[in-house]
Each structure stands twice: as C-alpha cells, then as structure tokens.
C-alpha cells in the first residue's frame, strides 16, 4: 500500500484511493486540482498570515502524521447527544477514516432526505454534489472560497470519510440530522461534510466531535452547507474531544435569498481547536446568527474565527461568542465582517465576552470590520471580565455555597447564547460539560472582581 502522509501527499496515492472508492472522474480531477494547489502552498506561517497570527501553527499543530483511512472494527464510541433522545433523528458516524452506521428514519427517507457517504453521493446524486462540493472552499475555482490555506486545500484534495446530506426543497424537519465525528486512532483525520438544503427547507445539523481518551491526533475538517432560498438551517458543532486532539475546522455555510441560519459552536475539549464558522450571505434578505460558547482549561488553546461576508443587499448578521477560561489557557476570538460595496442595507453586529476564572488564562479578542459600503448599520464590541463580587455575595447571602454560586454564575454567563438555539439536548450536554470543568476548578484560585463593591452607596 502506498504511504498516505499528510505532509507528503502524492498523486499516486490520491488517484489510487479515488479509484478504489469508485469516485467519478470529475471528483478525482478535483482532488488532483486541489493537490496541485497543495503542492504550491506551504503550511501556514503564523508570522505572515494574518488569519494565523493568533495561533502559532508550528508550535500547536503537528502535520507530520499519516492520514487515517480506515476505522478499527471494534471501537467504543461515546454516546452522542441524540442517542438518549427519542426524536426520530437521522444519525451518522464518521469513525477515523470511514463513514459507518448511517440511520435514516423512514419518515425522512420518504420525504426524499438523503444522508449517505460522499463517494456514493458523487455517483448517485452527481449533479448536486458536483455543483456544491468545494463551492465554498478552495477546490472549486468558481466558488466563493479563497485558495490560500493549505489546511483547507489538503482536505479538498485528500478528504477520507465524507458525508452528504440533502434536504429537498420545502421539506421541513423537526428532528436533527446528527453526525458524530469520532477519532479513535492517532494520526491525521480528514473528515468532510457537505449539506444542501433546498429552497424553503428546514433542518438542524449536529456535528459532534468525540475521541478516545488521551488521543493524540490531528483532525482537519471541512464542512460546507448550502442553504438555498428561504430555507432555515441550524448547525450545532460540539467539540468534545477527550484528549490532546488538534482540531482545525472550517464550517462554512452559504445563505441564499431570505435564508436564515443559526450556527452554534460549543468548544470544550481538545488541545488546540481552531474553528472557523464562516458564512457567505449571497442572497438578498438572508440572515445569519453565528454563536459560540467555549470553556478553556489548563493547556488548551481555542481560536474562534467567525467570518461573515455580506455579499448581497439587506442581509443581516449578528455574531455572539462567549468564553470562560481557567488555568493556563488561551482563547482567541477573531471576528471578521466583510461588507461588499453592493451590500446596501446591511445590518451587522459582532460581540465577544470572556470570563476569566483563574489567573494565568488569557483571552484575546479582535473584532474586524471591512466595509466597502456606506449605507449600512454596524456595531461591534468585546469585553473581558471576572466573576463579579456582588453577584457572588448576592447568591451566597441566600445560603448558596461558593462552588454552587460559581456554577450558577458561569451557567448564567452562557445562558443567553444557549437560549438562542432551542436545539434538543444541546443545552444539557453543553452545561454538563461546563459543570464538570467548574467542579474541577480550584476555588481558592478563582479571581473575583470587586470593582463593583467600591461604588455602592
């Protein structure tokens, strides 16, 4: 078998795999086109690339790994959010380099919903896949994506386990489509997800990331979802890695005319997690609500870069990310809003809040606005704070112990974000993960902001 190394891809390996998977020739050609760009590009240089400035690539990301292309036979996979819920969800698991366990309820299948692996989809739904795969990234020159980030291009060229989700026009789903991406073996994992919502469709997509305990792996992931006219899409991505996983994830959605998208990322696990929840507002009247919560603990480095591009008039975006930190951890929020010169009537707002629980943690926030059009409404803000002594006193004065008071305050900090998406099961899982973190915290090290005490009267 030919070697398949992330840092040293070969045309031979790519062609061989593409043929073995019986991918159509157009798909193989796309992979090879991406491969050519991969050869031309270097890995990101954090000193030179402004989108990488916040995360030292050389230090935090190890690309010297073999690509994992299979899944072991007997893997213990943690329960997913939807496992315990009787919702009639469609579920799919990507384990390491393979798509396994797709369950599509009959009710959804009868409506024409498709959840299948991407290689099969490329044969059976060729037109759709051909039109949309890579249309938001670097592998389609006609698409909206740039071609300059090798961490994306490498996935375009060499993605292994791919999943395709199609919700046809006017089909409205209450139950989520739940995709679990589970990493069980060391190495480089290259999962890929493509979703397409037809016009006036409605769907919720869960992407849940889990791993074997203490796993050292790099997961380089690309998710693209196209929301066609007047469709409604909720995407929830949970980063629940159980170990020092390095996770690079481009999660890009396109909102066509009057489409409405909410995109929540919940980042708790992983050593280095860099998530790019991006949205192109390509149709007039579209709206997007990029939301994020994160809780970073000792040694973790989270880099969150929501990017919204207003490419059409009268679209709106409202970004809200909230993070808590403890231990020696680092979070970066780099929010980007671009407003094209034709995007008149744009309404955009962008906010980031950080709550530093203990000394040694650092949160950076840089909201960027790049505006070519004068006729718009734009706002942005960021703030970093600590637990407020007055809040703590109020709760404690009711008999609540300090650890419970802290937990309530931290939950409260995140509550407005979680309330924005009434996605079944998500709030419970997110809060349980956060609770475990708060419980493990050293209460004696919690920093309390007593500034508010001074201006009592």
């Amino acid at each position: 078998m030919t070697e398949f190394l992330l840092d040293d891809l070969t045309e031979e390996a790519l062609t061989g795999r593409s043929d073995a998977a019986e991918e159509p020739s157009w798909l193989r050609d796309r992979r090879l086109a991406a491969f050519k760009r991969y050869l031309d590009l270097a890995w990101p240089d954090s000193r030179a690339d402004e989108f990488w400035r916040s995360t030292p690539f050389q230090r935090r990301i190890d690309v010297d790994r073999a690509v994992v292309t299979t899944a072991p036979a007997d893997v213990e996979v943690p329960a997913s959010v939807t496992d315990g819920l009787d919702l009639g969800s469609a579920t799919a698991r990507i384990i390491d380099g393979e798509v396994v366990d797709i369950t599509l309820p009959t009710a959804m299948a009868e409506l024409g919903v498709v959840v299948t692996d991407l290689a099969t989809a490329a044969r059976e739904h060729g037109d759709l896949v051909r039109t949309h795969l890579g249309s938001l990234t670097t592998s389609d020159p006609e698409g909206t994506g740039g071609g300059s980030d090798r961490t994306v291009t490498v996935n375009d060229a060499a993605w292994t386990a791919g999943l395709f989700v199609h919700v046809p026009a006017e089909v409205e789903l209450d139950a989520p489509i739940s995709v679990q991406v589970h990493a069980s073996t060391p190495g480089a994992h290259l999962p890929r997800v493509l979703g397409v919502l037809g016009h006036h469709a409605r769907a919720t997509l869960y992407l849940e990331h889990t791993s074997a305990p203490e796993l050292d792996a790099l997961v380089d992931e690309v998710v693209e979802v196209i929301a066609q006219d007047a469709s409604k899409l909720d995407v929830v991505s949970l980063q629940r890695w159980d170990g020092p996983v390095q996770h690079l994830s481009l999660q890009k959605v396109a909102a066509h005319r009057d489409a409405s998208i909410r995109h929540l990322t919940v980042t708790i696990g992983g050593a280095t997690v860099r998530v790019l929840p991006e949205c192109d507002l390509v149709g007039a009247g579209a709206e997007v609500r990029p939301l994020g919560i994160y809780f970073a603990d000792e040694g973790q480095w989270f880099d969150l870069q929501p990017y919204v591009r207003h490419l059409a008039p009268h679209a709106s975006s409202d970004v809200l990310f909230k993070g808590a930190l403890q231990g020696h951890s680092r979070t970066v929020f780099r929010g980007n809003i671009f407003v094209h010169k034709d995007a008149v009537g744009t309404v955009t707002d962008e906010n980031n809040r950080s709550l530093i629980l203990t000394e040694g943690a650092r949160a950076d926030a840089t909201p960027f606005l790049e505006i070519e059009c004068a006729d718009i409404t734009a706002g942005h803000g960021s703030a970093t704070g600590q637990i407020d002594a007055l809040h703590l006193f109020y709760l404690e004065s009711r008999g609540i112990r300090r650890d419970d008071a802290l937990r309530l305050i931290v939950f409260g900090f995140f509550r407005d974000v979680l309330r924005e998406i009434a996605a079944p099961g998500i709030e419970d899982v997110a809060l349980a993960d956060i609770e475990a973190r708060v419980e493990a915290a050293d209460l004696s090290k919690v920093q309390i902001n007593d500034a508010a005490l001074q201006d009592l009267g």
Partner: protein
Amino acid sequence: MADLEIRDLTVEADGAEILRGVTLDLDKGRTLALMGPNGSGKSTLAYAIAGHPAYDVTGGTITWKGTALTELTPDERARLGVFLAMQYPVEVPGVSLTNFLRTAVNATQGDGEDVPVREFMSRLRGAMKDLGVDESFLQRSVNEGFSGGEKKRFEILQASLLRPELAVLDETDSGLDVDALKTVAEGVNRLQGPDLGVLIITHYTRILRYIEPDEVHVMFEGRIVASGGPELADELEEHGYENLKTTA
C-alpha cells in the same frame, strides 16, 4: 442573652468609618424598626450582619444564637437563618431564577437531601401567588430587568421560601405603590411568629402601619441615638430628625 446581640459595632467601608459603636438586641418573635436619615449607616449595619465583603467590621461583635456571625461567610450566616432583603437587590445576569431559588432552598433547608422538585415547585408557585408575582418570572434571570417594585417583591418571595429566623428588611417599602406595599407587608406578616425576628429599616411609618414594630430605634451618624416604642416613629415622621441632631 438576646438571640441577636450587637455590641459596640464599628464598621468601615473603603477606609471610612461608618458605624461608630452600635449596640442593639433583637429576640426572635419580635419586630424592631430602624430609622434614620440618609447616610446614617442603616444599610451598613444590615450588610455587616449579612457579611457583605465591602464592609469591614473593625470592632465589636455580632452574635446570633450564641455564634459570632463575623467569623462566618455570608452563606454560612444564611444557613443559620439570617436573611437580608436588600435595599438594592443585585441583578445577576443569566442566572435562572428557578435554579437560583432551588439551589438556595436546598442549601438552607435540605438537611443534605434536596427538596423534591415537585414539592419545591408547588411551594414556589404558592409563594408567587401570595406575593402577586407572575409565573412568567420563572423563566427570568435573577433581578435582571426587574422594576424597583418587582425586585422588592422578589426579596420577600425569597424570604418566604428560605424561612429565615432573622429577617433584615432594608427599605423593602421604598419603590412600592400602596397596593404592592400591602401585598408585601402581608407577605412579611405571614412569616412573622415566635421563630422569626424582624429588623425593618425604613424612612416612613407607612409600612409600620401594616407591620407593627415592638421597638423603634433611630440611627444618626453611625450610632443609635434614640430608642422607644412605636410612638417614636410617628414623632419622627411629624418632626423629622432635626431635634435628634442636637441631642446626638
């Protein structure tokens, strides 16, 4: 020995001495009114009892049922039955009112066991009904966006759920219209009994018509300068604090 004994209490905030030797006794089953002009130190006394971190006790003692309160954290005091209805209740963003109350009820009276959810909810609903608090508040965050009057009602609602033995009510009457004042006073009256001592801080006799005090004390510049029966309150309302200042 009285249940609550305050002896020669001196308190500082931000380096300034505010209480300059306060002595006061309160037994369970009794109601005391504390009056006095703005800035005389009434809230400071209330906060010192509750253990507010901005107020430093620099001298004297506060003893509750034989225990030195000043040695205890605010939550420990509350679990001994001390409750402060604050003059300016704190907004705690995002913290769900229901979770907050449930945690507080479990902390103060669970005996280690949580009060069953159903029992808690029915007690909560009952208390809300008594105090005219709409059920929609169950979804709200603690005090967030509450009007002044709503905050005061919510303080008394907490008192009725936490069943304290010492309730310090710091200007609970301010910001309430006549109807709300009646409702809140009735709420306090329901709590009163042989197991509760009440210290009610106010500027007006209005609330004292509904909650009758056994004693009235007057604070001025960090000291108690006059004490008497309920008639003292009427006197103050009529003549103000002017002649106190000369005697102080």
